[in-house]
Every structure is written in structure tokens, then in C-alpha cells.
């Protein structure tokens, strides 16, 4: 799983990142339904904490940022600033129809139409709002991407292979074969 020349400490760090990714939430001005579904993931029914996924408040502690809601003009600059504070390697999941294209609010006067036009997004979760199962699926997709990135030594391989915005873990496996 590691690049051959990685030392023990690097392999340990990689293992910890894969086994227990920490997540931070960013609400970029939406209706809050996606936030509720993310918090429902933490609750006893879906319980992602047993996988080691913690929801942290600070972006500096996180591996994955989940952006919920539809990005308004006012939140766009704040979103960029918070994203810049997350240390590498970082991944971004955009939830729902609003994250992908603006949802029902596409084209309105106070909106930036997609999270993708502000920060680079690694995974989109489908739904309005996406069910907690879909959100867990998106996090697992990011973990698979993290594994591939470690094996290839960075993120550049994605551009050359033409992979962007992957929704499904099967697609990653097919693309890297």
C-alpha cells in the first residue's frame, strides 16, 4: 500500500489516515437539510464514529471537508479561505444537488452555481438531501482515492488519467486498471 521507499513512520501515518479520517463540516449557505443528514450519520442509527470518523470543528484538524448547501456569493470567499487552511492531503466532498450544480437555486442572483467553481471537489454525493448511506459512501470513495494517491505518490495521476469527480468506487478501480 505504500510507495517502496516510505519509512515506518510514514507508513504509520498513512495507515492512521486511512483507518480514521477526520472530517470537518462547512455549511455554505444552504437550507440545512444536508447538515442534518450528516449529523444523523453520527447518531446511533448510522454511527460513523465506530469507523473512526470524527467530526471536528477546526479545519486544521481535518482530512476531509464536507461542503453542504448551495454556495452563496457571500460564503464563496469564506469557503476558499477555510479550504486553504486544511493541511494536505485534503479531500472535499460536495453534498447534494446544490453542491453539484446549484440545485433548485441554479442561476439566481446571489449564487455561485457549484462548489466546483470555488474549490476543487473530489467526490459528489447524490440526493436532495443525500441519505446518510450516500454520505458514508462518499467518505469511503474519498478513502479509496486517498489509497490510490498514496500509491501513486500524490494527486497528479488523476489529471493524466482523466479522472475527476468520481461518484462511485467501482469507477476508480476500473480507471486505474
Amino acid at each position: 500500500m505504500a510507495v517502496p521507499s516510505a519509512g515506518v513512520s510514514q507508513r504509520l501515518v498513512n495507515w492512521a489516515r486511512l483507518k480514521s479520517p477526520w472530517v470537518t463540516l462547512f455549511n455554505s449557505g444552504g437550507c440545512n437539510a444536508c447538515d442534518i443528514e450528516v449529523i444523523a450519520c453520527l447518531m446511533p442509527r448510522f454511527d460513523i464514529e465506530r469507523f473512526g470518523i470524527l467530526v471536528k470543528g477546526s479545519p486544521r484538524h481535518a482530512d476531509i471537508m464536507i461542503v453542504t448547501g448551495h454556495v452563496t456569493l457571500k460564503q464563496a470567499s469564506r469557503l476558499r479561505r477555510v479550504w486553504e487552511q486544511i493541511p494536505e492531503p485534503k479531500y472535499v466532498i460536495a453534498l447534494g444537488a446544490c453542491g453539484a450544480s446549484g440545485g433548485v437555486f441554479h442561476g439566481l442572483y446571489h449564487s455561485v452555481n457549484s462548489v466546483d467553481s470555488v474549490i476543487p471537489v473530489d467526490a459528489f454525493a447524490v440526493g436532495c438531501p443525500p441519505r446518510p448511506d450516500e454520505i458514508i459512501n462518499a467518505v469511503v470513495t474519498c478513502l479509496n482515492l486517498l489509497k490510490e494517491d498514496i500509491a501513486h505518490g500524490g494527486k497528479e495521476w488523476r489529471q493524466t488519467n482523466g479522472i475527476k469527480n468520481i461518484k462511485n468506487t467501482n469507477e476508480i478501480r476500473e480507471a486505474t486498471l
Binding site: 452563496t72 456569493l73 457571500k74 464563496a76 470567499s77 476558499r80 442572483y109 446571489h110 455561485v112 467553481s117 470555488v118 474549490i119 476543487p120
Partner: protein, 159 residues
């Protein structure tokens, strides 16, 4: 405690302020002018014992801008005070000193419609972002976003 609020009761109390009509079983609309609105609110508060402001709504009906104040009280009748303002210079006196919740609504309506509320010193932006250009009021019927203006958000390319 005053008597039950009926249309005739309201008409007799607010004779010199405006005209009243009953639009539904528990709504009475009083049409008045911007010059009289402060007196209208004070008399509605005292004579008709309305102690709550529900909301202030605004509309652009193509020709004029309308402003409606909705108040209610323990009698559960909703009294709506309606004003009409001209499009080119819409001004109305502020009511935030006699009716505290109206402060928020006045700021929002100013941002979205451009109605100036005189008598208060700070009509800062509240609902549009800080980079929004002046004198562009999005909820007016004749407004469309101009293609070259910067309305806020991120300048330049993304990373």
C-alpha cells in the same frame, strides 16, 4: 379591554387616517399614505390594542411599490396597514422607534427594493453581500443582473 374588533369599529377609530376594508374573516386592511403611517401605527397600537408586529411585506406591482405592515393583538384580528410609494423616489418614515422589530424589516426592504426609510441613521446592508454595488435593487421588476458588474464572490480563477 376594548370591544370586539369589527369593521365598523375600525372605521370609526381611524377615520382621519385612511380607509378600511375587510378582506377575510380575520383580516382588515387599512389603506393609508406615507405621511400618516406613524400616526396610524400609534393609533392602531393604542385604540385597537395591537401589540405585535407580525411582518412588513413589500411588493412591486409594476407601477408602484407597496408596503404593508401587519399587526395583531390579543383580539386575534390582523390589521394590515397598506401604503403605496412611487417608483422613482420611494420614501417612507421609519417606525423603528415606536415598533422595535420593524428595524430588521426596514433594512431588508431597503436592500432589496430601495425604499428609503427616513429618520434613521444606519441603513447598512443586511441581506446582500458586502460587495454588492450600490443602487441595484434585485427584487424590483425591472432589474436584471448586468453582465459586467461584480456582485460579490470570488474574483479570478479558482485553484
Amino acid at each position: 379591554m376594548i370591544g370586539p374588533i369589527t369593521l365598523d369599529f375600525v372605521k370609526e377609530k381611524i377615520q382621519d387616517i385612511g380607509t378600511a376594508e375587510q378582506v377575510r374573516s380575520n383580516r382588515i386592511r387599512i389603506t393609508t399614505t406615507p405621511g400618516h403611517i406613524r400616526d396610524a401605527i400609534k393609533s392602531v397600537q393604542e385604540l385597537l390594542s395591537c401589540d405585535r408586529l407580525l411582518t412588513i411585506s413589500a411588493a412591486d406591482n409594476g407601477k408602484t411599490l407597496e408596503l404593508i405592515y401587519h399587526l395583531t393583538g390579543p383580539h386575534r384580528m390582523i390589521i394590515s396597514l397598506a401604503l403605496e410609494l412611487p417608483r422613482d423616489a420611494p420614501e417612507a418614515p421609519t417606525t423603528s422607534d415606536i415598533l422595535p422589530p420593524s428595524g430588521i424589516y426596514e433594512r431588508q426592504i431597503h436592500d432589496l427594493f430601495g425604499i428609503l426609510f427616513q429618520g434613521r441613521s444606519d441603513l447598512k446592508k443586511i441581506i446582500l453581500n458586502e460587495d454588492w454595488p450600490e443602487n441595484e435593487y434585485p427584487l424590483r421588476k425591472d432589474w436584471t443582473p448586468a453582465p459586467d458588474t461584480f456582485y460579490g464572490g470570488i474574483k479570478g480563477e479558482k485553484v
